[in-house]
Amino acid sequence: MEALIAKNITKRYSNHTALDNVSLSIPSQSIFGLLGPNGAGKTTMIRIINQIIDADEGEVLINGEKLNPDHISIIGYLPEERGLYKKMKVGEQLVYLGQLRNLSRKEAILRSKAWTKKLGIYEWWDKKVEDLSKGMAQKIQFISTVLHEPKLIILDEPFSGFDPVNANLIKDEIFELREKGSTIIFSTHRMESVEELCDHIALINHAQLILEGSKKDIKHSYRSNTYIVEHQGSLNGSLPDNFSVLDNNLLYDNFYQSIVKMTEGTSPNELLRSLVAVTEVHSFVEKIPSISEIFISKVGGAQ
């Protein structure tokens, strides 16, 4: 089951195209990373899903239904440009934002109280937001995003501006929400923050989708039969012809790190056997590119 499907979304502004025929399919209960550099079109995509702006072409389906105003109550959105009413009290504000997401007043009060207790800011219930620290305000923003138990949570650059403690807290909450059945869309230009969280990713650059799929598949497809070997003693010319040493660095004393590439059709075990024969192996790891390396190679290639 797909939580969200976007088909051939195009959005043009007078002097540029923000999204050019972009299609996404986001599995239910996944953490989906929408990645790309600044200005790639991520926020435009997110605003279209939130019905803030309309796409020029294409359509968005949520749980198989065409996007409509009823979906507002099942989406939770934490925008990149986020804030709160400074003069409003914490409790009032959460209840108000909950009501805007179609919660009844009673329900909104109940849940706001539960959440503020959970995140340890209940004693600030009657304080104005302007009296709060930045970290507490961030917690309130997060609560307002998930208060109505949305099935689809959209977080645009969630960790920018969040302090590390809050960032970890939110990571934990996000995993918990996924366990309870929510789907999470992450948008960020900081690939490393997403690597550990996401199980699906899409890369957008210059308004175009350049890569989409599960993190595992993508990484798999970028394997290059290359291994990182740390060993004692030199490797100079002692390996069979189907293995080539790409790089060789002296770490210390007689210890080396070598990058070894093998030809198609050979197995890692054969390489290991050949290595053991000529040197003392200390570590043997397949070199798998990080998302950010894949991204840079993709974007660099596209330009």
């Binding site: 702006i53 309309d54 959105y77 925008p79 804030g83 009413y85 997401r101």
Partner: protein
């Protein structure tokens, strides 16, 4: 629609709960009467307690006798002008009036030397004194009896009756003039005060960056409308409190004064007729009509300008940047209040007609005319145009607003506004 109500409710409560609202609501009806009363009292005290200014009179003619008054005491001096000036400089006295040896047919050459710049009223007072003296001597020269002249003076009181609406109604231009000016000015002030609040509110939402969260749950147009209507309800609520406060206060004050009235009327019998006429005139003023018209033009005008203020707020990041867009909004309002002068003087003239028909000035201009009686069709046309006017400005503002609130750090000029307006959603 339900969510628009929710927004209106938040806008209303967040403003009404503020201390500044409470203070303004209670103080305004007290401040204005207190201010007017206070200034009046000080002026009266000053006039009563002021000691007479001493003015030296150097009379070249010899027989020019100015009468002393409460305000001025005239002392004759002799000698030449230079020594008189020196004498004045050495004294504590106010000034030196030089009376030349003039011919009665061409009285010229009077000079007032003073140690400071004499103000208008002093100059006017002394001119009157001199003119009176010359007039008296002219009467003698031409052999006219002063008593006969006094009898020639005639004063009549013209009753003005308006028969346009079938029944005869006594009207008084003065009262209509006062009501027109006052209510028109009130609308002018409200447009700025509450329009400004709408703009502030929009800028606050934009600069605190809450706006994107809100418009992911409601249409930008709903948010704008909610804010405009929320502030409107604050305005109406405030006016309502004022009306009640003023009514209670004046009843109390009149009640206290009422105890003193019998003595006053006994002492000032001739005034009874005047005050009776005043009461009769007041009874003829169509207060219900004026109040209903006021409420209509207050709401209509506010909606028209409120939308424009919202659009201006959405285009900028801070109130100081909003100045450039405030100016064109202010121009028609200022035109309305300037036009008021000619409206109350000639309520049926061309200027009055057009200012009270065009929606941008009609809320102010129509209030200026309403006390004098406005033909029904003109009132109807003006109202319909005002409704069309605010529907139009709300639509226009909505198109700018929906784009503007999401733009941060953009340098905005009128070209950008047009671009936003044309942008499809």
């Amino acid at each position: 629609m339900n969510k628009t109500l929710l927004i209106i409710q938040r806008e209303f409560l967040s403003r009404v709960k503020k201390k500044s609202f409470l203070v303004a609501t209670i103080l305004v009806p007290l401040i204005f009467p207190a201010l007017i009363g206070g200034i009046g009292y000080v002026m009266k005290e000053e006039a009563e307690n002021a000691s007479a200014e001493v003015i030296h009179v150097l009379d070249e003619q010899g027989s020019f006798n100015l009468e002393n008054t409460d305000k001025y005491e005239f002392i004759k001096v002799s000698g030449d002008l230079e020594s008189a000036k020196k004498a004045l400089a050495e004294s504590d006295d106010y000034g030196l009036l030089y009376i030349p040896d003039f011919k009665i047919e061409s009285p010229e050459g009077f000079v007032l030397y003073a140690k400071s710049n004499p103000n208008f009223s002093t100059i006017g007072d002394i001119e009157n004194e001199i003119e009176d003296v010359i007039k008296d001597s002219k009467l003698q020269v031409y052999n006219i009896d002063k008593e006969v002249l006094d009898k020639l003076k005639t004063k009549i009181d013209l009753r003005a009756v308006n028969i346009s609406e079938g029944e005869e109604k006594e009207s008084d231009a003065g009262i209509s003039f006062g009501i027109g000016y006052f209510t028109g000015f009130l609308i002018y002030i409200f447009m700025f005060a509450y329009g400004g609040q709408v703009m502030q509110g929009v800028i606050e939402e934009k600069s605190s960056k809450i706006v994107e969260v809100i418009i992911s749950t409601v249409k930008p147009f709903q948010l704008m409308l909610g804010k405009i209507l929320g502030v409107a309800s604050v305005g109406l609520f405030q006016v309502l409190i004022w009306v009640v406060l003023i009514a209670v206060l004046s009843t109390v004050v009149l009640g206290l004064l009422g105890l003193e009235i019998p003595q006053e009327t006994a002492m000032q019998a001739p005034d009874a007729e005047t005050s009776e006429k005043f009461v009769r005139l007041l009874a003829n003023i169509p207060f219900t009509k004026i109040i209903l018209t006021f409420i209509f033009y207050f709401i209509g005008g506010y909606l028209l300008y409120g939308a424009l203020f919202a659009a201006a707020g959405s285009a900028v990041d801070s109130p100081s940047e909003a100045q450039q867009f405030m100016f064109p909004i202010m121009i028609p309002l200022i035109a309305g209040i300037i036009g008021m002068g000619s409206i109350v003087n000639n309520p049926d003239g061309n200027v009055s007609f057009w200012l009270s028909i065009i929606p941008f000035t009609s809320p102010i201009a129509m209030m200026g005319r309403i006390g004098f009686g406005v033909p029904a069709w003109e009132l109807a046309l003006s109202m319909v145009l005002l409704v069309l006017g605010f529907v139009f400005t709300t639509w226009l503002a909505g198109r700018i607003y929906r784009v503007g609130i999401l733009m941060h750090g953009v340098k905005v000029n009128y070209k950008t506004l047009v671009k936003w307006f044309m942008m499809k959603n």
